[in-house]
Symmetry: C2
Subunit: 286 residues, 2 copies
């Protein structure tokens, strides 16, 4: 496995593979890898001949007061996990490599997609995400890129950005991976105290409540949201930031679940913010 | 010469050429080609094996009240000029090909570069330019792209955007081409009445005045600008929008011309807006 730190190195690597007829997949991560990330790697290996994992804690997607400084890192362990998973190259750039001095350019997707859900509470976050993903696409030149459904809004934003800017990259969105008790895997789970960790699966059980109602024929968004919020309220340590049910396609609010919809929520435990989501749709329940 | 209308067609064309070991240059234009454009094509032919000219009147770089609707077009003549010049492919997309329904993504360079000079009077213009150039880069995948020094601020903005987003494209900026009387070539010159056309070379003579002062040792920006404005004022039909002398590197105002500087101006003749510029630098006077 190659460990590459410079943009020219990773571009040369990718181009050499493609010249030899091999397709290249990129899995962009912020490191501190867990089984969720490794499922993206597995999806990447399915989709392409060669897999590049990027590990870059992107400062521009963190807001003031967010956890950039304390974001967990363990590069040695990450590299070992990638090696074991058969990753071909890890791109591990310095911040100044991605954002050289006087960096002045950003990529932005309109508020209709980025001003709702998480974006409403994290102004600038998706601008940082769209910018760094554009940079990674230009540097790694992948044929395929894999993102997690865990960050549902991010997946929709990236898909739109990729289409709108005509990046020649196929986007794959890979399912959420969960702990046995239902908690969605996240590098931020490491922040949880034991008491918080014990209550954290309430995100999943609240979503399950909605799925049950949906399966029983309930289509009224207000009623579904009320039950989800009630479920969350039963966990004293859980402090919901938002619970929303929107169109899965364009993230706009809906009143009835009559086409593919996204139920997404963000919940604080102390200062730790967790997110989770489920798709409600006639044929594709998670 | 190929005439290509779909993104897949031009990307396939470019990739096939590159697979065969040939480098590809892109010359992005809005059509109504003149000798200025053809000098960009000549520079492109010098720099790469294969030349693609894109012809696309990009709506997102026109502001409200600007000349999008009346922008001059003559595709047949453009194609003939490209054919004669040995262009390999013309990319001639529909607006809906570049901007599909619900297009929601833009590329933006910070106000420090885009809020000055032309950008001060054309809000959103450089956002439209940066967005369409990003799209054309992703579609045509050129090794080299050629822009005109005539649009001096555009060249600086594109160079910065290209660096910041790590596009694997070398930017070449090609000198201004002028009529015999000094008027810089522009598709918009066609708007001028005979009386306006007669006075339009005042832009160049005003710039020449500055060059003369500079060559005689004048370094005080205020004094140079005063002379340039006086020269323009002598033409009764010329209505200057701005005359500015800035750092050529980052477009920030300077008081003394002690490093490479850009003297740029925009002047209205009736409703027709003309721009011109000159670089003031120790060794590289135009």
């Amino acid at each position: 496995m190659r460990t590459l730190r410079l943009t020219d190195e990773v571009r040369d690597f990718s181009r050499a593979e493609k010249r030899n007829g091999r397709s290249v997949a990129l899995v962009p991560t912020m490191g501190y890898l867990h089984d969720g990330h490794m499922s993206l790697v597995a999806a990447a290996k399915e989709a392409a001949d060669v897999v590049i994992v990027s590990i870059f804690v992107n400062p521009t997607q963190f807001g003031a007061g967010e956890d950039l400084d304390k974001y967990p890192r363990d590069v040695e362990r990450d590299l070992e996990l990638c090696r074991s998973a058969g990753v071909d190259a890890v791109f591990l750039p310095e911040t100044s490599t991605i954002y050289p001095e006087n960096h002045a350019t950003s990529v932005e997707v309109d508020e209709t997609l980025t001003g709702v859900l998480c974006g409403r509470f994290r102004p600038g976050h998706f601008k940082g995400v769209a910018t760094v993903v554009s940079i990674l696409f230009n540097v790694c030149e992948p044929d395929v890129a894999v993102f997690g459904q865990k960050d549902a809004q991010q997946a929709v934003v990236i898909e739109r950005m990729c289409r709108d800017l005509h990046f020649p990259v196929k986007i794959i969105v890979s399912p959420i991976i969960r702990e046995k008790d239902g908690l969605a895997l996240s590098s931020r789970n490491t922040y949880l105290t034991p008491a918080q960790r014990k209550q954290a699966p309430v995100l999943k059980s609240a979503l399950d409540e909605a799925v049950m109602m949906y399966n029983q024929g309930e289509r009224d968004v207000e009623k579904i949201l009320t039950s989800v919020k009630k479920k969350l309220a039963a966990s004293p340590l859980a402090r919901p930031q938002y619970v929303e049910l929107v169109s899965a396609k364009d993230l706009q609010p809906v009143k009835k679940v009559d086409s593919k919809a996204l139920l997404a929520l963000a919940v604080f435990f102390g200062s730790t913010r967790l997110i989770d989501n489920v798709i409600l749709a006639p044929d594709s329940l998670e």
